[in-house]
Amino acid sequence: MIPSTVPPKYKVFVDPERCMLCERCTTECSWGVYRRQGNKILTYPNRCGACLRCVSNCPRDAITVTLNQSCGREHPVWTPEVKQDVVTQAKSGCILLSGMGNAKEYPIYFDKIVLDACQVTNPSIDPLREPMELRTYVGKKPEKLEFEYVEEEIDGKKVKKAKLETKIAPNIKLNTPIMIGHMSYGALSLNAHKAMAKAVKECGTFMGTGEGGLHRDLYGYSDSIITQVASGRFGVNSEYLNKGAAIEIKIGQGAKPGIGGHLPGEKVSAEVSMTRMIPQGSDAISPAPHHDIYSIEDLAQLIRSLKEATRWKMPVFVKISAVHNVAAIANGIATSDADAVVIDGFKGGTGAAPKVFRDNVGIPIEVAIAAVDDRLREQGNRHKISIIASGGIRNSADVFKSIALGADAVYIGTAAMVAMGCTVCGRCYTGQCAWGIATQKPELVKRLEVDDAARRVANLIHAWTHEIQELLGAAGINSIESLRGNRDRLRGVGLSEIELNTLGIKQAGM
């Protein structure tokens, strides 16, 4: 066997002066980095992914994990990671898997967009003293309202009264424009799902089930749940569909546009197998396309069947990944009876994706939102559909900018996981998540305390909501609908003219 030519990425050091040999690291590390030998803790740094569970749990602060700098000749092109990937593939002959979002240094447009604020002539509004309205309805809206005038007798006198004739399609009502996107039970642990469900219920918002079905323990949260129908149809039956407040058809995902999903058999525990309706231990592979959808007409048919199955009481969303012709596709979706289009940018996270996809396929969410909103307006279709943006939303400013670019609401994913303890180590696909989030191993799952995690996620949403209110107030706006598509409140810094035009914003100073 050829020995590995690439040194480990991380260096793991246990300070013998501090270590008291409690062996906690040996149990906390689910990757097997630590082993006790005699009076020493041995380390196997090539197994380490820097999830930092050990560091956080060592009672003596004895552990340090650092990037391994002493890794041979430096080369700007043949970086250690590039070499590591070649070596791994040379050994296995397999596709490289990875977890979490795009790990390459593409420009983050959010960080090159600044927000505007009011001064003197357009006074800012104080959110502590004035109402700041973030309530958002996601779903189809009519183009206009129609009234009929009926004569009524009031106190013996005949008077005409305006009555609303237009019937509004079912929408979901959000107290804040932040929802948690679809991460399946299977990819995530049941405790993680329960924590998120509790949090969104408290915040008056929603979470997606992902393509893994809905565990019975979450049936009580159905008013805050958006169920998903993906190409594998895992867990989909009429009971499941009716246990949510909205349905989402997943066509694509930002982390892996153009391919299906893969839940490794190791993660398919007995509970997951029941919920997904697949045999225990079997790989759950959802196909790249839906085999009944090859056109917008086919999509429309599925949308209508789902509406039929739920007595037309729920909005149906369609999620696509952000790709270069996303605007045309979204416009097609708008004409297909869908109530919202979810656009997932290429910085979106994932439990498992081929690394080559995660890092190279798709386009940034910022430009996708701008393009979709523009096209829908040009075609007079914007009111037919809501826009939900996801994939790389990291903070309240990203939410604000997404809405100003044209979205109605956003989905967060990674941010909610980080709130629960995830350190973005990127090895969710192994099923070994030491934090109990992306795993099904009972001993690891129980590490995630549901109430505590729920509190953190709810706190995060509350905190961002407050920040959005403050930002709105500073922009002199007291209702979120006046921010939607209000690109006038954004300015670009350090962007080329073509980038500014694509985003539809002006240069700072103009």
């Binding site: 309202l145 005409k160 006046s482």
Partner: protein, 363 residues
């Protein structure tokens, strides 16, 4: 900043334009001499059923050619009954624009859709013809505006020679865009004329909203979008005026929650459907109209109406007053008292609640 004063005689009494000029001059300090303007309703009785189209033509040697291009658009759909340079007093202000007016009648075959046609013509000229801007396009009414102080503009356009039953005026303090003739208020489309005090922080959202219905915002000023919103909501969508106002300055959700089931349903639907029309930021607006307006009780008002409205937390002032047949709306009481010292009633309309004055009979 910015000063607004408007009044209307409910009986249709014709009042000389010098009254409005005197009143506006009182609000001079709310402007900076970079924009003042007037609109009078009822000023062209000889052509009362025809459109009076006021156009700014760039005051360059090309102005004849530009005017010709405008004429070409007009004659495609109807007849120019008369056209002339709007009479002005020379030497008052530097003439940046030549103001021209056309009295215009549509060809028979377009009568049923003439308002839509007129909107298209205005959008087309403003969008396509470099150096020409239609700044007034209603019937029996006209806008007069320029980048100067209130009295200068009044003298320049000889406002005292016009008589109208409704006048609105505006002294501008531009904060967002440079002061230029086209940017002065009132903004007009068909019978809608808007004067506005404030800055619409939702401009970007409102602009994109009206643009998706085919309006083209070319005048770089937030007030333009308000004129188009009125046209869209009231003329095109036929919303009862009370509900249209509710779309522009919606009831707070808290308020909506405490309404009767029926009203709740309506106001929720208004916010959901017309979110893009919601105006935010400080505003006090007064809108003059000659459109047929539907009221909540289903009555269609054919004649002129004047509407005043502030933003829903009242960041800009608005005061209303009555005297006999007259209704006044202004940003300051002093401007009203200047021309009508004795008033029957003076009040401050609540935040986001409108004031409406209607003509008693159609003129």
């Amino acid at each position: 900043m910015c000063g607004i004063i408007g009044f209307m005689s409910r009986t249709g009494r014709l009042i000389s334009g010098d009254r409005i000029a005197t009143a506006l001059n009182c609000l001079k300090e709310r402007g900076n001499g970079e924009g003042s303007g007037y609109v009078g309703y009822g000023i062209y009785p000889d052509y009362k059923d025809d459109y009076a189209i006021h156009v700014f033509l760039d005051a360059t040697k090309d102005y004849d050619r530009i005017r010709h291009e405008v004429e070409e658009v007009l004659v495609k759909y109807g007849y120019i009954l008369k056209d002339e340079e709007i009479p002005t007093e020379e030497g008052i202000i530097k003439q940046e624009q030549v103001s021209w007016r056309f009295f215009y009648r549509f060809d028979e075959k377009y009568i049923a859709v003439e308002e839509d046609m007129m909107v298209n013509i205005v959008m087309d000229i403003n969008d396509r013809i470099d150096g020409a801007f239609v700044f007034s396009s209603g019937k029996n009414m006209g806008v007069f505006k320029a980048a100067a102080w209130p009295l200068e503009v009044a003298e320049y356009f000889k406002i005292d020679q016009y008589k109208g039953f409704q006048w609105l005026s505006h002294a501008r303090y531009p904060t967002n865009t440079k002061g230029w003739w086209g940017g002065a208020h009132p903004f007009n489309l068909l019978g809608w004329s808007v004067v506005h005090n404030g800055e619409i922080t939702s401009y970007g959202a409102n602009k994109r909203y009206v643009e998706s219905f085919g309006y083209k915002c070319k005048l770089l000023t937030d007030t333009e979008v308000v004129a188009y919103l009125f046209d869209l909501l009231i003329r095109k969508h036929k919303l009862p005026v009370e509900y249209a106002m509710s779309a522009l300055a919606p009831r707070f959700w808290d308020e909506i929650e405490s309404m009767s089931e029926e009203d709740k349903k309506i106001h929720e639907a208004i916010r959901m459907t017309y979110g893009g029309a919601t105006m935010n930021g400080p505003f006090g607006i007064v809108v003059g109209t000659q459109e047929g307006m539907v009221f909540m009780n289903g009555e269609v008002e054919e004649g002129n109406t004047m509407v005043g409205l502030t933003d829903r937390i009242k960041l800009r002032p608005l005061v209303a007053a009555e005297k006999d047949d007259l209704l006044f709306v202004s940003s300051e009481e002093s401007a009203i008292r200047k021309i009508c010292p004795e008033l029957d009633r003076v009040w401050m309309p609540d935040a986001g609640r409108m004031v409406i004055a209607k003509l008693e009979k159609k003129i």
